[in-house]
Subunit: 202 residues, 2 copies
C-alpha cells in the first residue's frame, strides 16, 4: 500500500509566501509519521491514509486564520499500483472499507457526527476516482449517498460534489469518502479544493 497527497496552498495576498511559511509549521506534529517533500508546485506528504486529512485540515486552518482568502488544493491517492509499497503508509486502524456499502455509509456518517468543530467555516469541492476493475460508479453513488446525509453537503455539481460547513466535519467527511469507498486494497484518487474567507462565498 502507498498513500499520500500532493498539496498546494494558495493565499490570495501579496504576502502569500509569509502566510504559507507560517502555516507550514502546523505539519510539525505529523512529521514523524510522514515523508514530506516540497517543490515550486506542491508539497508531497506520504504516510498513513488516516493521517492525510487531519494534516491537511491543520495546515489549512493555520493559513485561513490569517484572515486572507486561502485555498488548499490537493491530489490524494491510495493503492496506486505504480507506486512501491511503503511501510510508512501502513493504515493505523486497519481497512475501513471491507463491509457492505450500506454499512460503510452508516459508519462514515456516525464518525462525522462525532467530529469536533473548529470555528472556521469553509467550502470544499472534490471528486472521488475509484480506479481499475470493479463497479466504480456504484462506489461513487454510495459515497454520494453518504455525503448527502453528512451534515455538510452543499450540492452536486458537474464532475464533483460541494460541501460547506465547519472545517472539522468537512475534513472528516472528506476523509471518510477517501477511506471507506473504492475497493479495500484498490487504487483510489481524490481531487480536492477547500476555500476559506472568500469575498464571493454564497
Amino acid at each position: 500500500m502507498f498513500s499520500g497527497a500532493q498539496i498546494s496552498l494558495y493565499p490570495m495576498s501579496d504576502d502569500f509566501a509569509d502566510v504559507i511559511l507560517s502555516a507550514i509549521g502546523a505539519l510539525e506534529p505529523y512529521r514523524p509519521h510522514f515523508r514530506i517533500e516540497t517543490d515550486d508546485i506542491s508539497t508531497l506528504i506520504v504516510g498513513p491514509p488516516e493521517q492525510l486529512f487531519p494534516a491537511m485540515r491543520d495546515l489549512f486552518l493555520a493559513a485561513a486564520r490569517s484572515g486572507k482568502h486561502c485555498v488548499l488544493s490537493a491530489t490524494v491517492s491510495r493503492g496506486c499500483p505504480g507506486e512501491p509499497d511503503d511501510p510508512i503508509c501502513t493504515p493505523l486502524t486497519g481497512s475501513r472499507n471491507n463491509l457492505p456499502l450500506a454499512d460503510r455509509i452508516e459508519e462514515a456518517r456516525a464518525r462525522v457526527a462525532g467530529t469536533d468543530g473548529t470555528g472556521q467555516a469553509v467550502a470544499a469541492q472534490f471528486s472521488l476516482y475509484p480506479l481499475g476493475a470493479g463497479h466504480h460508479m456504484d462506489e461513487i453513488y454510495g459515497c454520494i449517498e453518504f455525503l448527502k446525509t453528512s451534515g455538510v453537503f452543499d450540492r452536486s455539481k458537474n464532475f464533483c460534489t460541494k460541501l460547506r460547513g465547519d472545517a472539522g466535519p468537512v475534513f472528516a467527511t472528506l476523509a471518510e469518502a477517501f477511506l471507506r469507498f473504492g475497493a479495500p486494497e484498490g487504487h483510489v484518487a481524490l481531487d480536492l479544493t477547500v476555500s476559506a474567507n472568500s469575498p464571493t462565498a454564497a
Copy 2:
C-alpha cells in the same frame, strides 16, 4: 458524451479579484460553444473536448500577463456515465483515440511539435484517471511514454507528472494526454495545476 471542466484561478495578490475579472474576458471567443457557470469555488465550462485546453490556456495567459504569481487548477472530465449526453459536447474532429497505443503516442507527439509558443513560461502537474473497466495502468503508462518525449516533460512525481516550458506546448501536451488516452467513449478525468511567475520556480 459529456465533457467539460471545473476551473479555478488563484492570483497570489491583494487585487486577486481584479486579476480574475480581467482575465475572464479571454473566455469570450469560446462562449458560443460553451455553457459557462460560476460560483465561489470554480467556473464550469461544458463544451467540445478539443476546446477545453485552448480555453484554459487563454484564460491562464490573460491572468499570468498581470505578472503576479498565478495558479490555474482544474478538474477536467469526459464520458462520465453520471452526466447526460449533451450535443454541445460533440467532438469537433471525431475521436482521437481509436488507434493502437503506439500510433496514438506518435500522433500526440507530432501535434505538440507543431504547436506555437506564447512567450509565457509555465510549470504544470497533472494526473490522468481512465475510469471503469479496462487496462487503466496500460493507458497511463502509454501516456507517460508520450509525455517523456513531448519536449516539456520535467519529471515524474508521486501521483502525477510535472511539465515545464512555454504555455503553448504545455497546454497542447495536456490536451493530447486527455484526448488520446483512455477508452474512446470511456470515462476519463484529469486533475490539473498550472503555475506561472512563481518566486520559487526551480
